[in-house]
């Protein structure tokens, strides 16, 4: 029982990270129908910005987190402006290849500047280093902070998307770009804003993963990137709550498969679940099946 609870705690922590990254994928996909391969590298850059803030400038966790989010936000907007906007009307597969190009560029560009070696985050001190024990279940302060920040960011995101004017514009553009434009919505700005939001969340995920797992490297984004995308597809791509559910679900599955089964198979199980979901309900858990009209 205690072991089960411990796995649940770990699963929620891992799931938070997947959920934060998945949100960026799902928002971008929802609005321009692009699998933004560069998104997982924005997350990696976020981890590095946080690392430099904390180890060289000796900033605390919160300032580092905010700086990483702002840097990633700018990076996300720049990527969209330079690489994706000129191809807005091109075939989708072309934009996909460009996204792969941007992803490789960020990965190997970072590798060129900071070298390929794995770096370790500075250890947390003071109240952040505390560990709680409830029976035999260990919960570290890092996990609480990780989940806490994730929940705050998600609530904030829901607020922005549901209650503000820009959020309304985002939803309108994702439903019908042309109609939204006719209603006087500035589509370019709205798409930039979506990239900014998604990238900021990825930046936050990067810093949080840094403090949780301690080690970062320039290629750290690849695997979590694919997993987070799967989480987004699982929940129904383009649907924000779907990405959250998907993220936590994938996190749980991974932790449970490694805890109770063979950890070598944890990726395979995740992919198998994905394929099953796609075959049974292609639009994802929360997605609606849209009938195709001729």
């Amino acid at each position: 029982m205690e072991r089960l609870l411990q796995q649940v705690v770990n699963g929620i922590s891992l799931g938070s990270i997947y959920a934060l990254i998945a949100l960026g994928y799902t928002m971008v996909y929802g609005i321009i129908k692009l699998i933004n391969f560069a998104h997982c590298d924005v997350y990696m850059i976020g981890a590095y910005v946080g690392y430099f803030c904390m180890s060289y400038f000796r900033l605390g966790l919160l300032p580092s987190l905010l700086i990483a989010m702002v840097v990633c936000m700018l990076l996300g907007v720049a990527i969209e402006k330079i690489a994706y906007r000129p191809l807005r009307n091109a075939a989708r597969i072309t934009v996909l290849i460009t996204a792969i190009g941007v992803s490789l560029f960020l990965e190997y560009g970072t590798m060129f500047f900071v070298k390929a070696e794995t770096r370790t985050y500075p250890p947390l001190t003071g109240w952040l280093a505390r560990i709680f024990r409830i029976g035999n279940v260990v919960i570290s302060m890092q996990q609480i902070v990780l989940v806490g920040i994730t929940v705050i960011l998600m609530v904030l995101l829901q607020f922005i998307v549901k209650k503000t004017k820009t959020g309304k514009a985002m939803r309108a553009v994702s439903i019908d770009q042309d109609a939204a434009e006719l209603m006087g919505i500035n589509v370019d700005t709205t798409i930039s804003f979506t990239f900014a939001l998604g990238s900021a969340l990825a930046g936050a995920a990067g810093v949080l993963v840094g403090i949780y797992y301690n080690s970062i490297n320039p290629l750290m984004g690849m695997v979590p990137g694919i997993k987070a995308f799967i989480a987004a597809v699982f929940g129904g791509i383009g649907i924000i709550p779907g990405a959250m559910i998907g993220g936590y679900f994938i996190g749980m599955v991974e932790v449970f498969v490694s805890g109770y089964g063979n950890s070598m198979f944890r990726d395979a199980v995740v992919y198998a679940i994905l394929i099953l979901i796609l075959i049974v309900k292609p639009a994802g858990l929360l997605g609606k099946n849209v009938r195709e009209k001729v």
């Binding site: 091109a90 072309t94 190009g101 694919i226 394929i275």
Partner: protein, 322 residues
């Protein structure tokens, strides 16, 4: 005699034999060194992969991100057979067994997943390739993460040429057959094709299986030319590499795929001298080419042997004008 020269099949045969003989001569005179021969093998394997993925993605319009999975099946199957039968018949058996196994998996995977469309299919095929990789990583017989080493080398320019030219010929003839036309109609508009009485599922699965078969051949050639295979070689990035070649060459253009495979190999060979920024430059080039030529190098056009004739005419008419 003049008539005979103009027959397309004969022209093709002459071009093929010429290209084989020229490269063979360059190899025997050592202009193509051992190092370049490795590049040559990479180019040929990439051509087979790209042309077969082009059949799935460019011609039939089904977006697959799992080509490396089929390649790995071919590679492991062939390696396992060749390790036990290190002879030429063993090698040929390995290549065809590998290709058949890949085609079988392609068919089994394709039947349920090809109901999905666009990006969903892409994600499902990606998941399939990853599952195949994890299975190879955990099997006894494939030696897990350490991979199989000491695979005897059988591949030389002759075999590379036979399989590469064979794949290109078969696929380009397939595209011009009625089955190929049916595949193109599925790409253009699935609903319309369905309404015209084309069994879209059948053609999608056919293209997918055929593509997997060729990817299996490519994998088998890979295993028997580089001595060593491990599951990590056939990851997500390998599928992406192949997709990049296809899109760069132009979706639906077989000659575009060939051209792009050669071009990318040349670029990456030239960039060998700057190991640190090699991948950065590669990525930049990729972005720039896509920004300025979104339809790929060849669009959906093909280079045919008539190009040389037309160039000759152009040249002649210029001369006349002067």
């Amino acid at each position: 005699m003049g008539r005979l020269n103009e027959h397309p099949a004969i022209k093709k045969a002459i071009a093929l034999v010429l290209s084989y003989v020229i490269v063979q001569m360059l190899i025997s005179t050592n202009i193509i060194s051992d190092y370049l021969q490795v590049t040559l093998a990479t180019i040929c394997i990439n051509i087979i992969l790209a042309v077969s993925l082009n059949l799935i993605t460019g011609i039939t319009g089904q977006f697959s991100l799992g080509h490396a999975g089929f390649m790995s099946i071919g590679a492991y199957m062939c390696a396992l057979i060749v390790l036990r039968m290190p002879t030429i018949p063993g090698f040929l058996l390995g290549v065809f067994a590998g290709a058949a196994a890949a085609a079988l998996v392609g068919c089994v995977v394709g039947l349920p997943t090809l109901r999905l469309r666009g990006d969903y299919l892409a994600i499902a095929t990606l998941g399939m390739a990853e599952i195949i990789r994890v299975i190879f990583l955990n099997l006894e017989i494939t030696n897990g993460a350490a991979g199989l080493s000491g695979i005897p080398k059988f591949v030389n320019w002759f075999w590379l040429f036979v399989f590469t030219a064979g794949t290109i010929l078969v696929i380009s003839n397939f595209i011009r057959s009625s089955h190929g036309r049916a595949c193109i109609s599925v790409r253009e508009d699935e609903i319309a094709a369905d309404a015209m009485g084309i069994n879209t599922t059948k053609y999608k699965v056919m293209a997918f299986t055929f593509g997997a078969f060729c990817a299996g051949i490519a994998g088998a050639l890979y295993a028997t030319s580089f001595y060593f295979i491990e599951p990590g070689l056939f990851g997500f990035m390998k599928s992406i590499d192949v997709l990049v070649i296809v899109v760069l060459g132009g979706l639906g253009s077989i000659s575009g795929s060939v051209l792009a495979a050669v071009l990318l190999a040349v670029i990456s060979t030239l960039l060998q001298s700057f190991p640190e920024i090699r991948m950065v430059l590669y990525a930049l080039l990729l972005i720039i080419i896509m920004l300025f030529r979104p339809q790929g190098l060849m669009g959906s056009k093909e280079i045919s042997l008539n190009v040389f004739g037309k160039l000759g005419d152009l040249f002649a008419s210029r001369k006349r004008r002067v």
